[in-house]
């Protein structure tokens, strides 16, 4: 069974042309795997399979830089023998290869040790109804259409400002994917989705040096993608506005995270309340359920059934039925983010979050980004953070940052080569306001967030 990335510019056929056949093939492979696992001595087994097909073009300075048409398949199986587990994976879905993967997983399970918390999620929690969340919108797009679109994006960006003098390229991609999960409770679930993505990275230069920035869009339906020209122009604006960046005043001041950077803060929250970090005691939020982490006006909800969203699903990666549920209400942590394994380790029930959260949404506030800048008066707008300086064990936060310095309620100048530091617990408690500008293109959707104070360090006193 061979998969090739084709590069045929004539081929504009829909991606994954026969999704029904492809799904049937994956489901059949799942059944083969589970049968062999049981026959080989497994008490329980689970298997995830995926098949995807994508086309991607990158154009740089008007010329085609890379053409890609990628087809990938994969299977991953986990078996349990007396609560000891073994896993194996391969990209080859032929019958011999599947059999070999199962045998390898069984061989490993004979060497690992019984884990009282191990095994499948409880059978009674399996999703009984699998809904369609409007994620499949095939669109006929050939390579030349993708190339033309990428050229329009880049041209619009290069023409937007004389200081934009170089490009890392504009890319457009179309992808389709099918996933199947099955386990020995008899659960079989599948999902399919299409994604369309466009992005552009531009370089601006003036006497102060070079700056690079980008813009992007990502949608499940091709017709909903932003105008190609607007993506190019925004990338240009974002690169140009960074020119002449300097250091910011050192000391403590208010900080406004734009909606792109703010989502990182909420991802850190999710990491700290995730089962794996909790049972390993690798979180500053061990035993924090029921405590007031944020001001009372903060509400964060998970909606795994949001129509059209990339991650929407009726079941999690263990087959457990997903549900709409709050994470933070009135500023209080209502629950952890658990799969069945970490739930058993903690003596709790799974929250149907095996594989992570799905569509976590921070309720937006009432003020625009500009109004938040005006409210802040003096301080730092952060538009980019760099590095891995977040310690979830302690909550200590120290990152490189760039953005804008604000004086008298207005942007004064761009800044770079500074650090921002604090502790996540204080940062969460110190939220002052949220913007109206919810970033809806992400799995974790967050508006811009204003924080009362962080320590800023730069070369300026």
């Amino acid at each position: 069974m061979s998969q090739t990335m084709t590069r045929n510019s004539e081929s504009g056929a829909p991606l994954l042309q026969n999704p029904r056949d492809e799904r049937a093939m994956l489901e059949d492979a799942a059944a083969q795997v589970l049968t062999r696992a049981r026959a080989g001595g497994a008490d329980a087994a689970e298997v995830g399979l995926s098949s995807s097909h994508g086309r991607n073009v990158t154009v740089r300075l008007g010329e085609v830089d890379v053409l890609e048409d990628a087809r990938d398949r994969g299977v991953s199986v986990t078996v349990y023998i007396n609560r000891a587990s073994g896993s194996a994976s391969t990209g080859d879905l032929s019958a011999e290869s599947l059999a070999r993967a199962v045998d390898q997983a069984l061989a490993i399970a004979r060497h690992t040790q019984p884990d009282p918390a191990g095994g499948l999620a409880p059978a009674e929690l399996m999703a009984s109804r699998i809904e369609d969340f409007d994620q499949w919108h095939p669109h006929e797009l050939d390579m030349s259409a993708l190339i033309e679109r990428a050229k329009r994006i880049e041209q619009a960006g290069m023409a937007a400002d004389a200081r934009v003098e170089n490009s890392e390229g504009a890319s457009v991609s179309a992808d389709a994917a099918i996933g199947v999960y099955a386990n020995s409770h008899g659960f079989v679930g599948s999902g399919r989705s299409t994604r369309f993505d466009q992005s552009c990275v531009l370089v601006a230069r003036d006497g102060s040096g070079m700056q690079r920035d980008w813009d992007w869009d990502d949608k499940g339906r091709f017709e909903m993608l932003a105008d190609p020209e607007s993506t190019g122009r925004k990338a240009a604006e974002r690169a140009v506005r960074r020119l002449g960046a300097r250091s910011a005043p050192s000391g403590r001041s208010a900080v406004l995270f734009d909606n792109n950077v703010a989502l990182g803060l909420i991802r850190h929250l999710v990491g700290a309340v995730s089962g794996g970090n909790l049972y390993r005691r690798s979180s500053f939020l061990v035993d924090a359920v029921g405590t007031q982490l944020f001001p009372e006006w903060v509400r964060i909800d998970e909606d795994p059934h949001l129509p059209g969203a990339a991650r929407s699903s009726s079941f999690d990666s263990e087959g457990v039925a997903t549900r709409q549920q709050p994470l933070i209400a009135a500023g209080v942590l209502k629950r952890y983010v658990l799969g069945s394994y970490s739930a058993r380790k903690l003596g709790l029930e799974t929250t149907a979050n095996a594989g992570g959260v799905r569509n976590l949404i921070f309720s937006p506030g009432a003020k625009s980004f500009d109004e938040l800048i005006a409210d802040m008066g003096r301080g730092l707008v952060v538009t980019e953070v760099m590095g891995q300086g977040v310690n979830l064990v302690t909550g200590d936060y120290s990152r490189g940052a760039s953005g804008f310095w604000v004086e008298e309620g207005r942007i004064a100048y761009p800044v770079e080569e500074i650090t921002i530091a604090g502790n996540l617990r204080d940062m969460f408690a110190g939220l002052v306001a949220a913007g109206t500008d919810l970033e809806t293109r992400r799995n974790v959707q967050v508006p811009s967030l204003l924080l009362d104070g962080m320590t800023i360090a730069g070369q300026q006193e």
Partner: protein, 476 residues
């Protein structure tokens, strides 16, 4: 190595040299400047221990062939995840769509590359049985827990990789390599009162598992992880501001990787987007600084007998006595810039395109004793351990994150500091290097470099350095 790689990749599929030439001939029909075929077979095995039990193990096999056609600076790319002639010919036909159609070409594989192997071809997945690996993890766990009663959590993981690759290219290249890669990691949590801190250590490289299984090897990692966690229990808030920074030897060389290394990769120069663009031959560091990228070190994590384009790896001098002397190149960018490839063409797998990447990047030693360097600082910090880093190659701004550091006051080490980000500007950070130690060390073998979504194993190293001015991102 070429014979071994041929035997494991081509022989089972019945592909011979004539078939390679036929596929290359198909690939370079029309206006294609270079075509190559990259065959790969990779086995990965991992074991992990947590809560005192070896609770998970995993195994994976990936194999396939990546086919690339380069026309000017444009690339057509196709891959197949099976190795056989029909799949290879189909991929070759698809990859050449980058070029306009033209006449059929022929392509002879006339330059077999034979270089001395930098590592043995042992397969760590098969050379040691599963039971011994499980026992090793349990022994390490028991040892680590016995070191201090404040250690409340221990996790240990072992990963073994065995990879065969073979490259055939229309420039005549025919080269193969067999690459083992092993790694052991120990992570602990220490608790005291209501403080909880972590520590981790690990290492590995391209050598036999017996090297890691010896107690003197793994005990170092366990001791180090515990030491770090206990030091962190005492850590106080780090200072904030611009100050002198002394970097310890070894892994802190991640500074060189981020601040200098990425900015000297050929693709960023070909595109004119590196902050170091056009500065060849200029002074970009103090005269104490000589920095090399060296893929030829025996058994190191970042080493390669040949790169993923079949070019023998090399010791490339990037900065010599402060002057910029070299870039790292793959074939596409070297051709476009009119220079020779440097053995830095690397790819994550057959399903990814090669890019200019680092191997083992380090600074050569200077003359100062490390104690002398610390004693020379009135007020600053001494940073000995880092989590990793990141760079914006266009603005030159880079960060790296200290996970273990100490205050220096009046030439003496003070209290340990909580983790803090250090930020600087690549093109000028090495102009602030005031002292270079005589104690070059390479890291223990844990680095993974990410670029354009592709991860590859790398090494870093340096002697103790004093940098007169970096911004330290503490809270005080």
């Amino acid at each position: 190595m070429l014979e071994l790689a041929t035997h494991s990749l081509l022989t089972p599929a019945g592909i011979d040299r004539g078939d390679l030439e036929r596929a290359l001939g198909r690939l370079v029909e029309g206006q294609v400047d270079l075509g190559d075929l990259y065959f790969q077979h990779r086995q990965n095995e991992g074991w992990s221990l947590e809560d005192g039990i070896v609770k998970s193990g995993s195994f994976s096999i990936d194999q396939g062939v990546g086919v690339r056609a380069i026309s000017g600076t444009g690339t057509g790319f196709a891959y197949a995840d099976a190795i056989n002639m029909p799949a290879l010919m189909q991929a070759a036909g698809n990859a050449r769509a980058i070029a306009r159609s033209g006449r059929s070409g022929t392509s002879a594989v006339t330059r077999p590359v034979h270089v001395p192997a930098l590592y043995a071809a042992d397969n760590p997945v098969e050379a040691v049985d599963s039971a011994s690996k499980v026992d090793l993890l349990r022994t390490i766990d028991a040892y680590t827990r016995s070191l201090d009663p404040r250690i409340t959590q221990v996790s240990v993981s072992l990963s073994c990789q065995h990879e065969s690759i073979l490259v055939a290219a229309s420039d005549g290249t025919l080269a193969g390599d067999v690459r083992p890669l092993i790694r052991l990691d120990v992570r602990v949590i220490a608790e005291q009162g209501d403080r909880r801190e972590s520590g981790n250590a690990g290492g590995g490289g391209r050598y036999a598992l017996s090297g890691l299984m010896a107690p003197e090897s793994w005990q170092k990692f366990a001791d180090e992880a515990v030491r770090q966690a206990l030091v962190n229990l005492e850590a106080v808030d780090a200072p904030a501001g611009f100050m002198k920074v002394v970097l310890g030897p070894g892994w802190p060389g991640v500074l060189l990787h981020e601040a200098i290394g990425h900015g000297l990769e050929g693709d960023f120069h070909r595109k004119g987007i590196s902050a170091f663009g056009g500065r060849m031959g200029e002074r970009i560091a103090t005269e104490h600084c000589t920095v090399v990228d060296d893929g030829t070190l025996a058994e190191r994590r970042g080493s390669l007998s040949i790169d993923d384009e079949g070019t023998p790896s090399a010791r490339n001098v990037l900065i010599e006595n402060g002057r910029l002397t070299g870039l790292m190149q793959d074939k596409l960018n070297a051709r476009a810039m009119g220079v020779e490839p440097t053995g830095n063409g690397r790819r994550e797998s057959f399903a990814h395109l090669p890019l200019p990447r680092m191997t083992n990047t380090y600074m050569l030693p200077g003359e100062h004793a490390p104690e002398e360097i610390i004693a020379s600082v009135d007020d600053g910090i001494y940073a000995v351990n880092f989590n990793g880093g990141q760079v914006d190659i266009t603005s030159g701004k880079f960060v790296f994150v200290a996970s273990e550091a100490y205050r220096i006051k009046n030439g003496k080490l003070g209290a340990p500091l909580k983790g803090a980000t250090l930020i600087g500007n690549g093109p000028d950070v090495l102009t602030r290097v005031a002292m270079v130690g005589n104690n070059l060390e390479l890291d223990s073998g844990v680095g993974v470099c990410g670029k354009e979504g592709q991860g590859v194993p790398v090494g870093v190293g340096q002697p103790t350095l004093r940098i007169d001015g970096l911004t330290v991102g503490g809270t005080q």
